[in-house]
């Protein structure tokens, strides 16, 4: 099975490990992620004002390109996923805006693409049962907190990947990998997002809450689907904030790759500062 794949700017650069570990794991469980031939930045924010047609054009261009490659498009980054999926829905449901966007782009894309997250492919196409069978190195004893953040879940009517208040898809995946998922109250709270640019205080507070909440429930490692969450959480730990427990923050595909027997050296654990490697060593996983 081959699925067209939109990497997005961040996964092409600072979050390259997220991208490669996912692709490698996909191969292991039986599908192939094919980069779109042509792609551009999705804009990294879904335009919340409905009259903002310009904000829709960048993602619309991506979708239109993707349609040439097939009927489905997969992504990894929560923000890309959110922007593409919502834009796609607008183009599908809202005739007027579809017309404006297409006129501007001189295109005729109709929103017929099925935009899915990598996790959905794992869950719905492969199945966690099957995933479990493919695991060669079960993550035994790893207490992992799945952190969803905002963009993978909200708004539920547009995204609908899982229950917006009590999602479990990542926990279910972690279980399949042999890890022990840890539920924590702040798993659907915001990390501070783009305020990283101009409001460190807010980011540190919000990200700090998330880490503390996970640690309080016993999480030894936090798993995310979003490079910005990863950046904010890790950044908060690295800053002089003494209260924040030092919990490694990794992409879910890094743990996935590990469990599926990929060489740890290629999974980018060194990028996460020493803590991750130390933790995994302690657990006897690397």
């Amino acid at each position: 099975m081959k699925i067209p794949y939109y990497p997005g700017c961040t996964l092409n650069t600072v979050a390259k490990d997220f991208d490669t570990s996912a692709k490698e794991s996909a191969r292991a469980v039986g599908f192939e992620m094919e980069d779109l031939e042509q792609w551009n930045c999705c804009g990294a924010s879904f335009p919340l004002t409905p009259d903002n047609i310009m904000g829709l054009t960048a993602p619309a261009k991506v979708l239109s390109e993707a349609k040439k490659a097939g009927d489905r498009l997969t992504t990894l980054c929560s923000v890309c996923y959110n922007v593409l999926k919502r834009t796609n829905k607008v183009l599908h449901d809202d005739k007027a805006r579809r017309k404006s966007v297409n006129e501007f782009m001189e295109d005729d894309y109709d929103g017929s693409l099925d935009v899915v997250h990598y996790l959905e492919v794992l869950r719905d196409d492969i199945g966690f049962e099957k995933l479990k069978e493919t695991v060669t190195k079960p993550l035994e004893g790893v207490k992992a907190g799945a952190y969803y953040g905002c963009m993978l879940l909200r708004p539920f009517d547009d995204i609908g990947i899982d229950n917006a208040e009590a999602p479990t898809v990542m926990e279910d995946m972690l279980k399949a990998l042999g890890a022990t998922p840890v539920d924590f109250p702040d798993k659907i709270e915001c990390c501070g997002a783009h305020l990283a640019m101009n409001n460190k205080e807010v980011v540190q507070r919000l990200s700090g809450n998330v880490i503390a909440s996970a640690a309080n429930e016993g999480a030894e490692i936090i798993v995310t689907t979003c490079p910005l969450c990863q950046y904010n959480l890790e950044g908060t730990q690295e800053s002089a904030n003494a209260d924040t427990p030092n919990v490694p923050i990794v992409y879910f595909t890094q743990l996935l790759g590990l469990a599926l027997g990929q060489d740890a050296a290629n999974l980018g654990f060194d990028n996460n500062g020493g803590a991750t490697e130390k933790f995994l060593k302690k657990k006897g996983l690397i």
Binding site: A164, A166, P185
Partner: protein
């Protein structure tokens, strides 16, 4: 040739001032078929009516027109007089020349009024010529009422009907009557104990010689119409012989198996053979056949061994009985929206987030904790309790858009009960508005705040989660504009009151309407609040919408007065304004059937002499037809007509316009 009489009333000067009634009388006299006309000062006065009757007899009239005030005023008077004079009362027609002519045209020359009166009178005369004799329809009335649902509303209805001397059957689907009120601890606004005021009524219903209780039973099928319902009731197998069981309790003492108690909302267990609560009426147990190993795989049977009178019968089966009733009261009540519907409040996953009804059980002296407030998770006394109002109510996105009406009041009550039982405890209430309309209700809420120290916070709670054995509430106080976080020991949701599952099926069985929330529709929300569009079926209590006990009881009594009025004579007479099908021209398209708002048209089988069905035709059930005439216009074959307003009559009137 018809012999018609026309009587033009002057109404003192009311009509005469703008209508030359004598001229009208003189002119109409010239019309074909009119043999007598007169103008009179006060037609409705005794001498007026006497002269009216005399004229009918003397002139051998076969039809009369009275051109006078609105038919809404005196149609009955003149029809009765016409009947007294030997005429079929439907051969008497009124022309409205006062309200709709003399009073609204102030022309002093009297030309306008006179012309219009002539026109209108002529139209009535032409219409009258097409009138047929009609006889009032009489329907026999079975003086026996069915009450569906034995909550407080149903019990009240049954007691009042029975006290009025008529027989009542209560069909209750649970093993005991009492409904939700049986679960309550103390009740606002007077704070009397629910059991103390309900139990005597339950016992009275049981002992009343006019009331029969069919508990553990449900209505399967309803046929017929007002005065003549035929109802099939399913009596579910109790596996206990009601006639011999003494309610001694040996069986449920000894039964070794347990299940969650429905009555206690999962807060405690009951046995497999059980009565839902100690004061149950009747105090006769039932066996939960889905859990009894004797029934499932022929093991145990302990209860039968210990039962002195040998009342246990494992072979009992559900029984169907069909009985006749003249009227039906529907009082099937409500339930609370399930806790699991509240995502942001923990989906029913957090043990210490409970519903208002569960709190009632905790506070009830006969409840699982004997009236002590204990949190379910670890049975400790909660010191900080947060009450969240409007949980699921006024939330069109995830719940229901309406206000549940009683939860502001019961939340205030809960904070009081809590403070009375946990003196050092603090109650917090998140509310959007406090709705305490009712006699002494606002004072009650003020008491909760001022006297019992409840902390009211104006704002909705955004999220509830568990942390370190506490329940964390994240909300807002919009009055100060701040976010509020409370570490509570227990959370009580003032959960939306919703219709019972299956309420729509019950409505369909009965042929009554319901709204999108499956609450039953009143005939008219203000003026016929306990009637339904189906004559003979009445509504009481919370199956109509949220209401408290006083209102439920009032409605129960109101339905009883309706039922007793209906039962006050052996036969009901009603206007013969009903539809009738012409069997020659009906071509069985059933357009009429689908258009009738009262489901009054049936598909009738026409059989030949050998009894084979040769044809199907529409047939109007006089008992159900309300005479709206919708079917007449729906029928493309013009095969159906409305007595009293036939096409012929209407066309005759139009033709002379």
């Amino acid at each position: 040739m018809p012999r018609i009489g026309v009587f033009v009333c002057q109404c003192g000067n009311n009509i005469e001032a703008t209508v030359d009634t004598q001229k009208v009388a003189d002119e109409t006299k010239k019309l074909p078929g009119v043999v007598h006309t007169e103008s009179y000062k006060f037609m409705c006065s005794s001498p007026g009516q006497d002269s009216f009757k005399k004229a009918i007899k003397d002139n051998k009239l076969d039809g009369v027109v009275v051109s006078a005030c609105s038919p809404h005023m005196h149609e009955k008077t003149f029809r009765r007089a016409a009947e007294a004079a030997g005429l079929n009362q439907f051969q008497c027609e009124i022309t409205n020349v006062r309200e709709q002519c003399s009073w609204v045209h102030h022309d002093e020359t009297r030309k306008i009024g006179t012309d219009k009166t002539m026109d209108l009178t002529r139209m009535t005369i032409q219409r009258l010529k097409k009138n047929r004799d009609l006889t009032k329809i009489t329907i026999p009335v079975t003086k026996r009422a069915l009450v569906i649902g034995g909550g407080i509303a149903g019990i009240q209805a049954a007691l009042d009907i029975a006290d009025g001397g008529q027989e009542v059957v209560i069909v209750e689907k649970e093993p005991s009557i009492g409904g939700n009120m049986a679960r309550l601890s103390e009740t606002f606004p007077t704070m009397d104990c629910s059991q103390c005021i309900l139990t005597p009524k339950m016992v009275e219903a049981e002992l009343h010689d006019k009331i029969s209780l069919y508990t553990y039973s449900e209505v399967e099928k309803v046929d017929g119409y007002i005065g003549n319902f035929s109802v099939t009731i399913k009596k579910k197998a109790k596996f206990v012989d009601e006639s011999t069981c003494t309610g001694c309790g040996e069986c449920w003492e000894k039964c070794p198996f347990k299940a969650d108690s429905e009555f206690e909302l999962g807060l405690s267990k009951r046995k497999v053979i059980y009565t839902p609560f100690p004061q149950a009426v009747p105090n006769i147990p039932v066996i939960d056949k889905t859990r009894c190993p004797k029934i499932l795989k022929d093991k145990c049977g302990l209860c039968a061994k210990v039962c002195g009178p040998q009342s246990i019968d494992f072979t009992q089966e559900d029984q169907l009985v069909t009985e006749e009733f003249g009227a039906i009261v529907v009082a099937t009540g409500y339930e609370l929206m399930p806790n699991k519907d509240f995502g942001e409040y923990g989906y029913g996953k957090i043990t210490d987030v409970i519903s208002g009804m569960q709190f009632e059980r905790l506070a009830s002296a006969s409840g699982p904790t004997g009236g002590a407030i204990r949190r379910p998770s670890d049975n400790t006394e909660p010191k900080n309790v947060v009450f969240i109002q409007c949980a699921g109510s006024r939330d069109e996105k995830r719940g229901v858009s309406y206000c549940s009406k009683i939860c502001c009041m019961y939340t205030a009550k809960h904070t009081m009960l809590y403070r009375h039982k946990v003196h050092d405890g603090q109650a917090y209430v998140f509310y959007m508005d406090i709705r305490s309309g009712g006699k002494r209700y606002e004072e009650f809420v003020r008491g909760a705040i001022e006297h019992d120290g409840a902390m009211y916070l104006r704002g909705r709670v955004s999220r509830v989660y568990e942390k370190d054995g506490k329940v964390i509430i994240q909300g807002a106080d919009t009055l100060s504009g701040s976010q509020v976080e409370i570490e509570a020991d227990m959370v009580v949701l003032a959960t939306a009151l919703v219709s019972r599952p299956g309420a729509d099926t019950v409505a369909q069985t009965l042929g009554i309407g319901y709204d999108k929330y499956k609450f039953y529709n009143e005939y008219h929300p203000k003026l016929k609040p306990v009637e339904t569009v189906t004559a003979g079926i009445f509504l009481a209590g919370t199956c109509v919408g949220p209401m408290d006990i006083p209102e439920s009881v009032s409605q129960g009594s109101a339905t009883a007065s309706k039922v007793l009025a209906l039962f006050s004579s052996d036969k009901m007479a009603r206007e013969p304004i009903t539809a009738e099908v012409n069997k020659q021209t009906c071509n069985a398209c059933w357009d009429c059937v689908t258009s009738c708002p009262y489901v009054a048209i049936e598909k009738e089988e026409i059989k030949d002499r050998k009894g084979n069905v040769v044809n199907m035709l529409a047939h109007v059930n006089d008992g159900l037809c309300q005479g709206c005439g919708v079917c007449v216009c729906a029928c493309r074959s013009k095969a159906i007509d409305l007595n009293g307003y036939t096409d012929e009559q209407v066309y005759a009137a139009i033709a002379t316009f």
